[in-house]
Symmetry: C2
Subunit: 332 residues, 2 copies
């Protein structure tokens, strides 16, 4: 029996293509003393992985060419020589895109399928939900009654951000890229208003109309021109949580835009880059709060499930086309 | 005897010119009950006044065409019908560019010429010094041993920022626009290194060379391309204090530059607009600390004194050419 592996064959230029990924096989490893053998079950594909495909210094080291890719993965323990894990248990961790792999247990967290569906640990209860929660908490400093604007609002992080905004008693406006998505975030996720940026000529005006009291917190998942329009609508003392910039990830040159410094000065604005890994010590309380809200049915989540190990690259590529509804997950 | 007045004759386009200012005369007013009659003595001209000459919403209301301009001014009480002020005392406040004016005392602070030279209350002990102190304190969050980069380093605010950095035990690098200035900030103000941006081809590399451990706090007085180069040299968790953007104040179109959002995300950077008026309640302690440092000879300051009421506009215009050394003050 062979073990399939997906590697980074070449660093993508612009939008990644199928050709940037390599498919190889190797033999299934054996767990040594202190190790577990893992069989992967659910694979999270996320926009930030595009950044790791570049050969540049960032908050996380770049992928190496011809080596396996990795992402957040739920796996089953199929063999254990580690006293902390039992056969049949499920774990969550940053794992390689290999059907089978061994681990010494470092960085693995057990997940309880009785508390929530396994996949939720990649979404609302995983880095996705925790990113939404801590981004709002640590940088957004969102207060009751304020106006919260969210881009990528139908996406995995954005949809949770907006729902937390509603739980906190805010006016929540979302930006997304289709009518289906803008309908969904209002009807299913309870956003107050939604803007379809693909059919809007003037984003500045669209935001101004949707946020008659201005924007207090802008949770940005996209960067680029939508950020420009949001910045121009910020209230004095507004906060911009720079969580993602999917509109720029595939650019091959440094993108240009209107300078921000005079806007920041005029309105005493804060703009801060947010990376959830900076707040590892806060993961526990964040997950607990999110689990409570899920139990109370205050947070809904949506997933797009793609089937088959071989489809991991395609699922990743489709993110840049907005083909996912909520969290994109591959079921192996 | 007539009272000279300087008004905003027209809103400047690009760099202000003498023609944008109007010179008129009116009679000297009389102090009514509860009022004082003030004779202005020292007038502060500052880059931020350029922003008030535009007809746009900002942290402070725009000047009106054909009305007197105003700025930070030290004046003598020449007549008093207000029990809080005596004839012969000196006050500091936002006053009009008129030789004589009345005031009900609101917003006036008495200054003691025995404690420090009167002009210091427009500089180190005034908004200039307080801006440097609170910008570093409230946004920069500067810690011992860190690297502090300052632009406009030979200017009124920048030179104090750098000196506070040295007091706090930091590695301090300044950026200025002439060899005379770069020499001065090293020799007189004790900066560790200085960069002359006018003779430097590659600001990114110049900063990288001057800051081998990267930049932890960038105190920005200029914006534009120097900010771009600084941002590319920031360390993880770096802070950018956006205090001024003199390089952009005279632009007639929205200036463009490299987008910042991916840089902010990659290094978890904070960028925040700073306006000293947001921190009025902290002025007292800030001024006290600055006065102590001045007394201990830990902070030096430099002034460029221009003489004559009629020269106020020229002194202001000269700021954009970097003709001032330190704080630009007009002695009436």
């Amino acid at each position: 029996m062979k073990n399939k592996v997906i590697t980074l064959k070449s660093r993508p230029v612009g939008i990644p293509t199928q050709d940037d990924f390599g498919f190889t096989e190797e033999s299934i490893p054996e767990a040594q003393d202190g190790e577990v053998l893992l069989k992967i079950k659910y694979v999270s594909v996320d926009p930030y992985l595009r950044g790791r495909m570049r050969d540049e210094k960032s908050y996380i080291e770049p992928f190496k060419v011809n080596e396996p890719l990795e992402s957040g993965i739920i796996a089953e323990v199929v063999e254990s020589k580690n006293k902390n894990f039992k056969k049949g248990e499920y774990v969550n961790g940053m794992l390689k895109w290999k059907q089978f792999q061994t681990s010494n247990g470092n960085g693995l967290n057990k997940v309880d399928r009785n508390k929530a569906p396994l996949r939720a640990y990649l979404g609302v209860l995983g880095l996705t939900g925790i990113t939404a929660y801590l981004g709002l908490e640590k940088i957004g400093n969102l207060k009751k009654g304020e106006t919260l604007l969210v881009s990528g609002a139908a996406g995995a992080v954005g949809s949770v951000v907006g729902q937390i905004g509603k739980i906190k008693g805010c006016n929540v406006v979302g930006i997304a890229g289709s009518e289906e998505k803008t309908n969904r975030i209002q009807e299913e996720f309870g956003f107050d208003m939604a803007i379809n940026y693909k059919t809007t000529d003037n984003m500045y005006k669209a935001i101004a109309d949707a946020c008659p009291n201005g924007v207090d917190v802008y949770f940005d998942n996209v960067g680029g021109e939508i950020l420009d329009a949001a910045l121009a609508n910020m209230n004095k003392y507004g906060r911009v949580v720079c969580c993602g910039a999917i509109s720029l990830y595939n650019e091959t040159k440094t993108p240009k835009g209107p300078r921000v410094e005079t806007k920041l000065i005029k309105n005493s604005l804060l703009m801060q880059g947010f990376t959830v890994r900076d707040f590892v010590k806060d993961f526990g309380p964040a997950q607990k709060q999110l689990a409570k809200w899920m139990e109370e049915d205050k947070i809904k989540y949506l997933e797009t499930i793609v089937e088959g190990f071989d489809n991991i690259p395609k699922a990743f590529i489709d993110l840049f086309d907005g083909k996912n509804k909520g969290k994109m997950i591959v079921e192996v």
